[in-house]
């Protein structure tokens, strides 16, 4: 189990940030909100896009994913 935006998500240890973003892309509802552009924070550390595939996520990790946003 990891936390994504403060909410629990069942997770297979070792899968990476890239895998998480892929999951978000495939999930219709999550995909709508993220517009394919993210800021990703894992345990309070900013992860750069080039490190998404190299950053594994493990049980207990706290991830935050932010879209670029506009809302009128």
């Amino acid at each position: 189990m990891i936390k994504v935006n403060y909410h629990e998500l069942v997770w297979e240890d070792g899968k990476t940030v890239e895998d998480l973003l892929q999951l978000i892309k495939e999930d219709r509802q999550l995909r709508l909100l993220t517009h394919d552009t993210y800021t990703v924070i894992v345990n309070n550390e900013l992860i750069l896009p080039q490190d998404y595939a190299k950053t594994p996520l493990r049980t207990g990790d706290e991830v935050r994913v932010y879209p670029v946003m506009a809302g009128g």
Partner: protein, 565 residues
């Protein structure tokens, strides 16, 4: 695009001027900042003879670029007492552009109780029509009467009874291109009251008999960049999501990080968020014949708007937006989209800002007038504003006035204007924008989410907000912000400007328009009496932790750094 009409509401004289040469490369918000600086004493009474109401189009108006026809409305704000520009889609800006009209200035103050409609006739000639038969009508009935009189394709810029009564949360409403109803609003800062003070019920624009031709500096070059821009917008993943749910999908995100305002900005998660998220919205929106993918202005290719029908199939409202669902919904503890849509309709009809009104209702709920979550109670409060009861008229003075009158400690306003739908404890850059913008708390003055910055931390937020505020001042001078992402780059924007206005524009030159605008706006506010002490969030955001444990921790002194450029 060079016609300026100046209406003296004291003498009823209308003069035709050519746009001054020094205003030629300005539009929308940047033009309003310049004209107010040049013509309005910042210390004037916002509802007095010294203030002016300015209606103008953008720098791209009159061209065939999609989403270019926003109408900017400006003046000294009756709500904040500072400078104000509020803009909206709808049909009016393109109707004005077809006549070649860049700006209308309403000035002076009527000495009698006669109300007028400014009527732009088919040949572009303006006249003042007696409005006596239309006084007391709200926007939906008024627009229907204008369509009956002048035909379905008439452009209408009107105020409802809220503007007539001088409510400081009142809007200027415009007809939506898809539905034909007056559901688009230049909403913030009480500019409806300023139009009401001039006793102008509406500006009504007939379709131009002869269409104005934009004097492109290089038409071929323009067509090439236009094509490129359109391709980019149509292939952007953002466009797809905007078409499905409009801005409402933002709830899916803000609700997860406690940035969605809940029960008067309590900072808590909204337990019933699922009921207002995009999935619930899409399911509900199609019931009764509702639709998405609607364009609010002619020729829009993003089409983020929607129409919402009652379950019985009757049109109820259009352009239901994130801000409205958040402020009139979760911020009041309400999770019923049907109730929120009814509140939206009532606001548009009466002509009041849904953000300010939602925040005001939540403050009433905090004071115990009706419980949080009581949808019918919220509707009854709004009905008081419509009926003009004593309390309803107090509500019309905005969130701060109501909070003070009811003895509420937690009043979510900056410079007298209610906070929009992003809790600044969890998106801190927006807290900086809310605090320091000359407009008062306004999300459109500088959105700060972007790659590389943790929104829940204070680091880099001041710099980010500075950059975004300058960018927003440019956007508001050019186009609708939802096409801006694809326009705002080195390849497209300078090319657009060069092909329209001649010369070789650089990106920096264009961004400079934003910088200069912000300087003028800030100088106006300073002369109006604002100081650094006004650039601050209410204390409770600094002292009460949100559900994620955050407080707003960027000090007023740190935020003042934003002006060091």
């Amino acid at each position: 695009m060079s016609i300026v009409y100046r209406v003296n509401t004291t003498t009823k004289e209308i003069t035709h001027e050519e746009l001054k040469e020094e205003y030629r490369l300005l539009g929308g918000r940047s033009l309003i900042a310049r004209v107010l600086t040049d013509e309005v004493n910042p210390q004037c009474d916002p509802l007095g003879a010294g203030n002016k109401l300015i209606l103008c189009t953008t720098l791209l108006a009159g061209t065939t670029l999609p989403m270019a026809h926003r109408l900017s409305v400006g003046g000294k704000s009756p709500l904040t007492g500072g400078i104000k520009e509020a803009n909206s889609g709808g049909t009016a800006a393109s109707m004005l552009a077809r006549h070649g009209i860049k700006m209308i200035i309403l000035e002076g103050l009527p000495q009698t109780n006669d109300w007028h409609i400014l009527h732009i006739q088919k040949d572009g000639t303006p006249e003042l029509m007696d409005a006596v038969d239309y006084l007391g009508l709200n926007n939906y009935d008024f627009a229907a009467k204008m369509q009956e009189r002048f035909g379905k394709d008439v452009g209408v810029i009107s105020i409802g009874v809220a503007g007539e009564r001088g409510y400081r949360n009142s809007t200027v409403q415009l007809i939506d291109a898809s539905t034909g109803y007056p559901s688009r609003a230049a909403a913030r800062g009480g500019l409806g009251a300023l139009m009401g003070a001039k006793k102008i019920k509406a500006v009504v624009i007939e379709k131009a008999a002869n269409r104005y031709n934009f004097p492109y500096a290089d038409k071929e070059r323009y067509e090439a960049v236009r094509k490129k821009y359109i391709q980019r917008v149509l292939s952007s993943p953002r466009t797809e999501s905007m078409q499905k749910t409009g801005t409402i999908s933002m709830i899916d995100f803000t609700s997860t990080v406690a940035a969605l305002p809940v029960r008067n900005f309590s900072g808590q998660f909204f337990e019933q968020a699922e009921a207002i998220k995009s999935k619930a919205f899409v399911e509900r929106a199609f019931v009764g014949g509702g639709k998405n993918k609607e364009g609010c202005q002619p020729g829009c290719i993003v089409r983020c708007s929607n129409r919402f029908h009652t379950k019985d199939g009757e049109y109820l409202t259009s352009g239901l937006e994130y801000e409205t669902v958040a402020l009139c919904g979760s911020n009041c503890g309400i999770a019923d989209l049907d109730v929120i849509a009814r509140l939206d309709r009532m606001c548009d009809d009466l002509g009041v800002d849904t953000i300010e009104t939602g925040a005001t209702i939540a403050v009433c709920m905090e004071a115990g007038k009706v419980p949080f979550g009581d949808g019918e109670g919220a509707i009854a409060l709004l009905q008081e504003m419509m009926d003009g009861t004593e309390f309803g008229r107090l509500m019309g003075q905005g969130t701060e006035a109501v909070g003070k009158a009811l003895g509420v400690k937690r009043i979510p306003t900056v410079k007298g204007q209610a906070l929009p739908a992003y809790d600044p404890r969890n998106i801190k850059g927006l807290g900086v924008t809310y605090s320091t913008s000359a407009m008062g708390a306004d999300h459109t003055a500088g959105m700060t989410l972007g790659p590389g910055i943790d929104p829940s931390k204070k680091d880099f937020q001041v710099e980010k907000s500075r950059q975004s505020q300058m960018g927003a001042a440019v956007t508001d001078s050019f186009t609708c912000s939802f096409g801006w992402g694809e326009l705002n780059n080195d390849e497209i924007l300078p090319e657009v400007m060069s092909s329209l206005y001649g010369g070789e524009w650089t990106f920096e030159q264009i961004m400079n328009i934003g910088k200069e605008t912000i300087k003028l706006e800030r100088a106006f506010n300073k002369a109006a009496g604002f100081t650094g002490d006004d650039d601050c969030l209410p204390t409770f955001f600094y002292t009460e932790a949100s559900a994620t444990g955050t407080v707003f921790d960027i000090s007023p002194e740190e935020m003042q750094e934003i002006f060091n450029y």
